[in-house]
Symmetry: C2
Subunit: 342 residues, 2 copies
């Protein structure tokens, strides 16, 4: 264990695609990690594969409390409340993070229970259209952005008060955990996170479902003619509907805003296409410029000729709790930057 | 040259991504193929690379007439009319096909000039977001659907008349040409083609432009958080705007219909998301079912364990001009099937 690693065990509650992949990476790193899966058969499979996994939630949380572990909540949104209740009961002093894809409702449930002093929200921007322990894999988080929330610290700063030590330690360990799995920690406040993912993750799901449906309505001839671009565009429609529902429905306000913006563009394009001289010049130009900017910004991550992958995200080396550190987080957030802790 | 190959030279007018890739494949097959490019420098580049290419359109068409070549029109839609005029003048008896992505306006221009007796429309469902000779490549059409129109024959059949020999020969050679580049010939009438590609090609372009714009509006933080799924979903927005415009604007009536269908789904999802109990159950379920069907139908093409790629499109072995052959084309079209000619 290096001095830059998390200096306590990590306990993962929920071993689906994300929780399972995190467990695999941390175990591969030889970090002390254990976990809970509600599925007895999946837990058995993981044990047979040599992982320290159990299907008894109170026992796992008791152990987390005794070993002073950092708890990672990796269950679907609908189960977060009951897991928080169990943590209150069995692991009342443990630090907590989560990997749920929408941050407002998790943050709300944490605040409802007065647990915000030991909670730092997280969201790894990684995944596949598959789910469950059987699809978990090593290396899933490499180079991925991992959003880390800091509203609690921002509130203290706004009041001119010092952020409590316990929260700073939790924040530090969450960032260090993401570093151990080679992700890039992007500081982001809850509302900004949810507004951003509505645009770049949830709206694409809505679009993919819509495209798949309209394509399918074209019948077997349309599908026979469909090429790779159609399959790419509808790929995420292959995600289990209940996962899509959880993401989109729990982020409804931000998603409605992004969707309204999209609907306005589409209605405008529709009117111009239905005109006597059809034109989509405006949308085609705007989309091309936007795509070119997106490509340029992510270029260094994907297409660098350097043998070492270089991140295009500006980096801030942070000393949590140091002078103006919360202001530095704000600045990094505004640049879409990442933080490193040494 | 095998007896199943085209038994005459092929002359390609326009050597961009599609025309250039076709020239490369046919030349690689040792077929007699030559072409025209309006760009003198691109034509010179092709000549240096050993291809039989010229930038003098009358000369190239004269040669096609003398050698009784099959002419492939591979220019943008806006240039089709002037190429047809030049063919009328310099190659008045040659058979003609094209590779333009929308069939109604090409068909109309052909009919306006009374050239339909020697024209068979085509559209290879292959491409990349790049364009021009420099991006043309071998193997682009392998396993791709290549729509081939037969409205002329269907009209003769509807009148109870025999399809003229010249047209049958043209049709046969166009199908054979697609076989030579390992594409799969899918018979399709003009209106059905345009309705299908509106759904599976042009609407995805509109959606990608819209998503890229809405994502870009989220600023640098949203883009920093964007993962692979967003880049996949916006990939085709990287296509040159004038190419997107030509496809979408020349297929405006069919595209408006597909877009209206999509807008209705999106508006419905928006209302249900904005409700007190947000739900996108309906869209998520429909999209998932649609995507699963799409995947199942293309499964054998992409994920077959067989070392020989097997097409999932049903195949009809056709004898053009034989008994009920036009009825067989109709039936194959209704199944999204492919035809082979021996």
């Amino acid at each position: 264990m290096s001095s830059q690693d998390v200096q306590r065990p990590i306990c993962i509650i929920g071993l689906g695609l994300i929780g399972g992949s995190l467990l695999r990476d941390l175990a591969g790193y030889n970090h002390h990690v254990f976990g809970y899966n509600h599925s007895t058969s999946a837990a058995r499979t993981a044990v047979k594969q040599g992982f320290d996994v159990n299907d008894d939630l109170p026992a796992v949380l008791n152990r987390a409390e005794v070993e002073e572990a950092l708890i990672v909540i990796a269950v679907p949104m609908t189960a977060v409340g009951s897991v928080l209740d169990a943590i209150q009961e069995y692991a009342p002093s443990c630090s907590i993070t989560d990997v749920v894809s929408v941050k407002t409702p998790v943050h709300q449930q944490v605040c409802d229970r007065g647990m915000e002093g030991r909670y730092v929200g997280g969201h790894p921007m990684a995944g596949t259209s598959k789910s469950g322990w059987d699809h978990s894999q090593t290396g899933l988080f490499r180079h991925a952005a991992w959003g880390i929330t800091y509203d609690y610290a921002a509130d203290y700063e706004a009041r001119g008060e010092k952020v409590p030590r316990k929260w700073i330690e939790t924040f530090t360990d969450v960032v260090r955990m993401t570093q151990m799995v080679h992700a890039e920690a992007v500081p982001v406040r809850v509302a900004n996170h949810d507004a951003a993912v509505a645009r770049i993750s949830h709206l694409p799901h809505i679009f993919a479902e819509t495209l798949a449906t309209v394509g399918d309505n074209g019948g077997i001839l349309a599908q026979s003619l469909a090429a790779g671009s159609f399959k790419d565009a509808t790929r995420v429609a292959g995600t289990r509907p209940n996962l899509v529902r959880q993401m989109c429905e729990t982020n409804a306000p931000a998603l409605v805003e992004a969707l309204d913006e999209a609907l306005e563009l589409l209605r405008g394009a529709r009117e111009k296409l239905a005109a006597p001289e059809p034109s989509i010049a405006e949308l085609a130009d705007a989309g091309y410029r936007a795509r070119t900017r997106i490509e340029a910004r992510s270029g260094a991550r994907k297409e660098s000729v350097s043998p070492v992958k270089i991140s295009s995200r500006p980096v801030l080396r942070l000393h949590p709790g140091g002078p103006k550190w919360v202001a530095q987080l704000r600045q990094t957030e505004s640049l879409g930057g990442r933080i490193e802790i040494f």
